[in-house]
Symmetry: C2
DNA sequence: ATACTACTTAAAGTATACTTTAAGTCAACA
DNA sequence: TGTTGACTTAAAGTATACTTTAAGTAGTAT
């Protein structure tokens, strides 16, 4: 099965211009062209695009993804380099998830805080609660938010 | 306890210029000034900065955070609006975590893939495996990566 | 009083990742 | 064969979030 740039863009829910931009930046050297110069995406190309999407979500810039694509172009010589890249991306994403979970905790505390406030019709009551007067599940995150940790650099 | 912009910047591990930029964008109306015009951050301001950081991590732009800060300025009238904001941010972050977990799965598959390749000295063997020849824990993500889902819009 | 460092502002500059525009070509259908 | 819609490129434009620069001021230590 073959797809034009517009068709592939629809499948990926991104503008076709983004795919053309990626191509221009050297991210899609694998995409072949018709006689007339039109990009013909294959199912295999879709897999590549999924990997590119994954690396992007992991926090890599276009240039860094380009570096990876170039590694692939070098063939089996770059295998351990590529393994290292994915290992480091895996660790980065694990850290990002942990960070996001902290963010989520603070948001959950804030939801509770504003639920109380809306019920009370004022922020005053909730704001004046001491750390041990708030629900146990929020005490840690609240303390964390209140405590300045000075680093010595 | 009072902190200058440079001290607070160190505490937050961001450049002082970023704090000045946030101030210029209306994110820090609560920060008071000395007689001479120098910003004096308090422990309470640190809490606000933590909330701003949290909203930023949740995906809000500077302008959107400004909107929230403006809500706070309106007092108790904006309580339900603020609750709605935090609820929607909570949902957004939950989705982001789910998405990140998908990304992590693909990265773990890729780590396995390249570990095999490095062991074999070539990608050829791993690449030629069929879906039921790869470890069970990677079959779903691999299938997901291979399967184009066409939406009808 | 004099340095010195960190602070102040406005304004210009940078980086990243697209997005849009303009001028033109390809491919399918009537 | 002509029209139409989607494709092509290079180049300019946009959005966001800072970052840097320049000229000057505040506050502290000697």
């Amino acid at each position: 099965m073959l797809y034009t740039v517009g068709e592939m863009a629809k499948i990926l829910h991104i503008p076709a211009s983004t795919l053309r931009y990626y191509d221009k930046e050297g991210l899609l050297p694998f995409v072949e062209r018709s006689k007339g110069g039109i990009r013909m995406f294959t199912d295999k190309d879709y897999e590549w695009l999924k990997v590119i999407e994954c690396l992007k979500k992991s926090g890599l810039s276009i240039k860094e993804i380009r570096t990876f694509i170039d590694m692939v172009g070098k063939g089996d010589d770059s295998l351990s380099e590529r393994l290292e890249l994915f290992r480091s991306r895996k660790n980065a994403v694990q850290k990002q998830i942990q960070d996001m979970e902290q963010t989520l905790e603070l948001l959950e505390f804030k939801c509770w805080y504003y639920e109380q406030s809306v019920n009370d019709g004022t922020e005053a009551n909730v704001r004046s609660l001491t750390i041990d007067e708030i629900p146990v599940q929020y005490q840690n995150i609240k303390k964390n938010m209140d405590t300045i940790i000075k680093s010595n650099d």
